[in-house]
């Protein structure tokens, strides 16, 4: 019985060590995870551009809203600023996208650039990696005559959460990195 207990302890510790080894990131794997998180931000940038575009059919925009929403942690908020107002309004993700889809312009162009980490992904005690990525957003709104009626550039900080999870697929246990975006905070708005 004592022997069995020892064996169980050894096996359990092996499993624990293996799980730990998979959670501890080598520089090569860390780089892959960093890139994955940046790619999710680029995905969001693309989705925002599609949702905001007046050329996107309504059904497509709604499909893309669903995809974009999947990028975020539940309850996350996105900040909205304007050159006309000093205060920044925060909306839950879905609400933000729905407002974006209905903006009162005839044509909208949104592009993100200078996407980079301001705070590297750091491992938290619960195993989650947390980092902050900053982006610059260029917004342009046109009227029916095609005139540029509003434009601004906003610097935004996006909190990124990365956690290793496991799922069963086709009888195999797949370890994957789940990247979820948190709040998007407006840092600066300029013309």
């Amino acid at each position: 019985m004592k022997k069995l207990a020892y064996i169980l302890i050894i096996l359990t510790s092996f499993g624990f060590t293996s799980a730990m080894a998979q959670d501890q990131l080598s520089p090569e794997r860390k780089q892959a995870v960093d890139s994955l998180a940046l790619e999710k931000i680029r995905d969001l940038s693309k989705y925002i551009s599609i949702i905001g575009s007046k050329e996107t059919p309504w059904s497509e925009a709604n499909r893309v809203i669903d995809r974009a929403e999947e990028l975020f942690m539940q309850g996350s908020e996105i900040g909205v600023s304007s050159l006309a107002k000093t205060e920044i309004s925060y909306f839950v993700v879905r609400k933000y996208f729905e407002r974006l889809m209905r903006l009162n312009y005839n044509k909208v162009e949104i592009s993100w650039y200078n996407i980079e980490y301001v705070s590297d992904l750091q491992r938290q005690p619960d195993g989650t990696y947390v980092g902050v990525i900053t982006i610059f957003q260029k917004f342009k709104g046109y009227d029916a005559e095609g005139r540029l009626v509003y434009q601004d550039t906003t610097k935004k900080d996006i909190t990124v959460y990365v956690k290793r999870k496991e799922t069963q697929i086709g009888g195999r246990l797949i370890g994957f990195w789940d990247v979820l975006l948190g709040d998007i905070r407006v840092k600066e708005t300029s013309k």
Binding site: R29, D43, R67, I174, G175, F176
Partner: protein, 220 residues
């Protein structure tokens, strides 16, 4: 006087015959000796060359194949050289030939396996190329309708629109790191939205009718 002449000519004749007989015998004896010496020299060259060849085989400094080495050893054996060193070298050379032959067979087997593996990879790549091209066509269709049409065509290759798609983001330390799993339907729409396909197919699983039931991609 006549007697003296007759006697002299007889003596000359005898001397002549004796000279011819003695001279001919001496010449014959010399030819045999030369021939013997020549044969001995040729044998010495043969033995020397045999030694050199056997040593080259043993040391591996020859570019002969195992068959060529075997042939050369057979020729050397046919000389029946009565020399203990040569006999010893023949035994060692034959052992060496066996090693060379085994190495040649191993290399041939490795080459055969490599060719088979290459053929498998080429076959898989050409099999995947169809799907890869479909994915690329979705990403580069240029219009939403164009992409949607390509998506419908591509879905024909899959068992259902919900089959899992796994994306490898890193392969190291003996295991793969994946992105969050998605479905083929979502992935194809993702290609439409992103307008770029920057993955390649790593593996597919198919059902009994050849439809894909699981897809594994890797970031290029």
């Amino acid at each position: 006087m006549t007697k003296i002449v007759k006697s002299l000519s007889k003596t000359v004749m005898v001397l002549l015959v004796a000279a011819i007989a003695f001279g001919g015998a001496t010449s014959c004896k010399s030819k045999k000796k030369i021939a013997r010496e020549k044969a001995a020299a040729e044998y010495a060259i043969k033995v020397d060359q045999a030694k050199k060849d056997l040593l080259a085989i043993i040391s591996g400094s020859t570019s002969w194949t195992a068959d060529e080495m075997t042939e050369r050893i057979a020729v050397i054996k046919s000389y029946n050289i009565d020399d203990n060193q040569i006999k010893d070298l023949i035994v060692k050379a034959e052992e060496k030939v066996e090693d060379v032959r085994a190495a040649e067979m191993r290399r041939a087997e490795e080459e055969r396996m490599r060719r088979e593996e290459d053929a498998k990879i080429r076959a898989a790549q050409s099999e995947f190329a169809v799907i890869d091209n479909q994915f690329d066509a979705i990403a580069t269709a240029g219009t939403i309708d164009g992409s949607n049409s390509q998506i419908q065509q591509t879905l024909e290759y899959f068992e259902t629109p919900d089959i899992p798609v796994l994306i490898i983001i890193s392969k190291s330390e003996g295991f793969n790191d994946y992105d969050r799993p998605t479905t083929i339907s979502k992935f194809l729409n993702y290609l439409k939205d992103k307008k770029s396909y920057k993955y390649k197919i790593e593996a597919v699983k198919r059902n009994s009718v050849g439809k894909i039931t699981e897809l594994e991609l890797i970031v290029k």
